[in-house]
């Protein structure tokens, strides 16, 4: 039985999942009959790319360990994606050049190709550097768009990141699907000794989004930083989960989340910091900021600090509130409309994270998407 068959069988045996805090939408797990290609570019000869399917079909191209995906959004999702993926890449970097190599992956979902199931593996070999940009984008609807285009678009994603000894990986994810889309994305990272994984996760689109990052800080002095930005559209539902497992000594992690919620939006934020025995002199911090823009919102925060090692520093902070009225008043007294002023305040709050992104075009896209969605 091959990899796909194994997971298809496991998937088909499972009961439909039920979530407590955010009820799952109808029409889950559509099985696409087509493959989807991304526009993928790379600027370095030290980057090796093949599709995930090619890697499975080629001997020794992918190790059993690298295929592994532990439970995340739930076994359901892992089995579904591994069994039915219609896209995905294996990207390996051996580049130690001063100039960080960039792999740019761009997916466009359309009326015809509504369902994307992508399965990725990103590996930085010892000492290597790598930046990966993944952009999920929906083709705008027009009068020629077939009727079924108004059914929701679906994205189910699984990304494994392996940062070997002393390597440095940065992942930039942008999700800007349309307001009816369903987006499920899980990212599993394994960080070895002295390696660093930086994540910039930007969620501005879709009606339903559930994302889950789980990072194992395995090695001594391993580091992982997650920077999350989200915008909860009117009537949207979001379930965002970030987990850091500190295993190595002197490991260091941070989770910083900045979000804004519009009317009727529902959001659940889960931030988990685990310190296992032996992870001495480790530091883990999580911070969550939520700006409430509209009425009838629902915002749940479930931060957890789970600690079995005393010689650590673990911290969590959250702050939830409305847009600062004084700021709003100040900007409006200078001629900004209320909407413009709100946009400015939201973007200023996101800027703390975006200022660390070195890709100008990426930042401009985020800014434009926010402009489009706040009204």
């Amino acid at each position: 039985m091959n990899f796909r068959q194994y997971h298809q069988e496991a998937f088909n045996k499972m009961e439909t999942p039920v979530w407590n805090r955010v009820s799952l939408p109808k029409g889950m797990f559509p099985i696409p009959s087509y493959k989807m290609d991304a526009s993928i570019t790379s600027d370095s000869e030290h980057i090796h790319i093949m599709t995930f399917q090619e890697a499975l079909d080629t001997e020794h191209a992918i190790s059993p360990l690298e295929k592994e995906a532990k439970k995340h959004l739930g076994d359901h999702f892992s089995h579904f994606i591994n069994g039915y993926f219609n896209s995905g890449y294996v990207i390996r970097s051996t580049s130690k050049a001063l100039e960080v190599p960039v792999v740019d992956i761009h997916y466009i979902l359309s009326g015809e190709t509504r369902t994307l199931i992508d399965n990725h593996l990103i590996v930085a070999e010892p000492g290597a550097k790598l930046d990966v940009i993944i952009d999920y984008h929906a083709e705008p609807a027009n009068e020629n768009t077939p009727q079924k285009a108004f059914e929701p678009m679906n994205h189910y994603g699984l990304t494994r990141v392996i940062a070997k000894h002393g390597s440095h990986v940065r992942i930039f994810k942008l999700q800007r699907l349309n307001q009816t889309a369903h987006h499920f994305d899980q990212v599993l990272a394994s960080v070895e000794e002295s390696a660093v994984v930086d994540v910039f996760d930007i969620q501005v689109g879709s009606q339903f989004k559930a994302i889950s990052y789980e990072t194992d800080l395995k090695g001594r002095r391993s580091e992982a930083h997650i920077n999350s930005i989200y915008f909860g559209d009117k009537d949207s539902k979001s379930d965002l989960s970030f987990t850091m497992n500190h295993q190595g000594q002197k490991s260091n992690s941070s989770i910083l989340s900045k979000g804004a919620l519009d009317s009727n939006a529902l959001k659940v934020f889960r931030g988990n910091l685990f310190f296992e025995t032996g992870a001495s002199q480790s530091v883990g911090k999580e911070e969550e900021f939520v700006m409430l823009l509209g009425e009838s919102i629902k915002s749940d925060s479930i931060p957890a600090l789970m600690c079995s090692e005393d010689d650590v520093i673990g911290e969590h902070a959250a702050s939830v509130g409305q847009v600062d009225l004084n700021k709003l008043f100040y900007l409006m007294s200078r001629g900004f409309s209320e909407t413009e002023a709100k946009k400015l305040i939201i973007k200023a709050s996101f800027e703390e994270i975006l200022s660390a992104v070195p890709y100008e075009a990426f930042k401009v896209t985020v800014s434009e998407e926010v402009d489009k969605r706040v009204y």
Binding site: F275, L292, M306
Partner: protein, 475 residues
């Protein structure tokens, strides 16, 4: 544990177990009536008959028993698999009747409370005292001037008869027998506890105190505390709990229902020092009306397993709650504590300050809930959780859940976990303070926000409880 060479500070802090001293002294069991082990309808009927209760109370007990039998054991939080409900004696009547004079209390029971300093505290700083021994209250007294103002402070069993209409109006309306398995058990076998009624506008200037002592082996204590503080009245109520240690499990499943009316204020302080074989599965709730205020001060030191989350329901506009809690989990203890606050009206405010210490394999778990309902606009709340770990055999977890149902809120939360910083110890030692004293000073400073909220006698008791002995070799 791995330690690299050349690394310093490997020597861990060791803090000796709290010396429980007087708390562990066991009295010979001398009781008039002790129910059989386990729980049957006959036992319930027997308890009710012993107490000569009205029919409605017996009916409630029997209904609760039915629910108890139907409900499954909770599977979240603590591991309750070792708790054998069939081996718990649910009712033990000590061989005495309730007394209003200390002299009339039997000698061995009196000695127990003497050793715990209860009568001493009454003389010095209390407006009234109640003492419960096993399932029944053995002593009750209150200052005459408060009686004259209409303040009622009596044991719950007497109140069922003497103040039947008030009891019937409030009893198990906030904590019902349908809430969870142990509230159902409580409804079936409750016995003893305190009833306090403070009439409109009366400010009780000194605290009232109840002390609960569970002496019988393998028994359960299920006291019910019902306090009603009427409009613009105020009260400070203190409860203390302890039990000697036996090798079999004891169970505490009390219920505390507090009603704070418009503009009223209640401070409810608890110093819980059950023995380390106790399952402390207590339920406490408070309903606060318009502009009323509840202040919880809660110290959890004893018991083998605790699951305790005092809840404030801010029902009236402008109501507020403040929770100050400390949990100290040592060897063999799993203390799952926290607080729940429900903001159910506009302009309500809450403050939560929680501290925990875990050491010597102890496991402290902060579990909290802050909920803002959709109609509760202009809510302000801050939640602070700080955990101190004294070694890496211990565990400390923090899970503060925040659920916000409308946009007009201002909510802040902070949590921190860590150990005593070596740099802080170095700083104090550089001023001539020994390592042991430096650590004790830091731990005392850590719990200071709690001790300063307690009356002096209790602060001293708490400091004795944290009678820390430290050794180590930094420097």
């Amino acid at each position: 544990m791995r330690k690299e060479s050349g690394e310093h500070m490997a020597k861990k802090t060791y803090i000796e177990e709290v010396n429980r001293g007087v708390y562990d002294i066991i009295n010979k069991e001398d009781h008039r009536y002790k129910a059989d082990r386990g729980l049957t309808e006959d036992i319930i009927r027997e308890i009710s008959r012993e107490k000569d209760e009205p029919q409605w109370m017996l009916d409630y007990r029997l209904k609760s028993l039915e629910i108890f039998n139907a409900k499954p054991m909770p599977t979240w939080g603590a591991d309750l698999s070792e708790l054998d409900m069939d081996n718990i004696v649910h009712y033990v009547r000590p061989n005495t009747d309730m007394s209003t004079s200390w002299d009339d209390v039997p000698e061995d029971i009196k000695q127990t409370f003497d050793r715990l300093g209860i009568p001493e505290a009454e003389k010095k700083s209390l407006a009234g005292v109640g003492a419960q021994y096993d399932s029944e209250v053995v002593y009750h007294s209150m200052r005459e001037d408060l009686k004259a103002k209409g303040v009622v402070y009596t044991d719950m069993d007497s109140a069922v008869k003497a103040y039947e209409s008030i009891v019937r109006k409030y009893f198990m309306t906030m904590i019902t027998n349908r809430d969870h398995k142990f509230s159902a058990l409580h409804g079936a076998v409750w016995s003893g506890g305190s009833f306090v009624y403070v009439p409109e506008g009366v400010e009780v200037d000194f605290p009232l105190q109840s002390y609960f002592r569970l002496n019988a082996k393998g028994a359960g204590q299920f006291e019910h505390t019902l306090i009603v503080v009427e409009k613009n009245a105020s009260l400070h109520f203190i409860e203390g709990c302890s039990a000697p240690k036996y090798s079999v499990q004891n169970l505490h499943a009390g219920a505390v229902e507090l009603f704070v009316k418009e503009g009223a204020k209640l401070r409810y302080s608890t110093i819980e020092n059950w023995s380390r074989n106790m399952y402390n599965l207590n339920t406490k709730r408070c309903m606060v009306e318009k502009n009323g205020k509840i202040e919880w001060v809660s110290g959890s030191f004893g018991s083998k397993v605790s699951m305790l989350y005092p809840m404030s329901i801010l029902k009236g506009e402008g109501a507020s709650s403040e929770f100050t809690g400390i949990t100290f989990a040592a060897k063999g203890q799993y203390l799952d504590t926290g607080t729940k606050v429900v903001h159910a009206a506009p302009n309500t405010t809450s403050i939560v300050n929680s501290k925990s210490i875990s050491k010597d394999g102890g496991h402290a778990f902060y579990r909290g809930l802050l909920r803002v309902t959709p109609n509760a606009v202009n809510v302000k709340s801050t939640v602070n959780c700080e955990s101190l770990m004294l070694d890496n055999r211990s565990k400390s977890d923090t899970l503060p859940i925040i659920e916000i149902g409308n946009e007009q809120v201002d909510i802040g939360h902070e949590a921190k976990i860590g150990r005593i910083s070596d740099d802080t110890i170095f700083y104090l030692m550089s001023r001539g303070i020994s390592e042991a004293e430096a650590k004790a000073m830091i731990v005392r400073g850590f719990v200071e926000p709690i001790t300063k909220e307690l009356p002096l006698e209790y602060a001293v008791e708490l400091n004795n409880l944290i009678n820390l002995e430290l050794e180590g070799t930094i420097g």
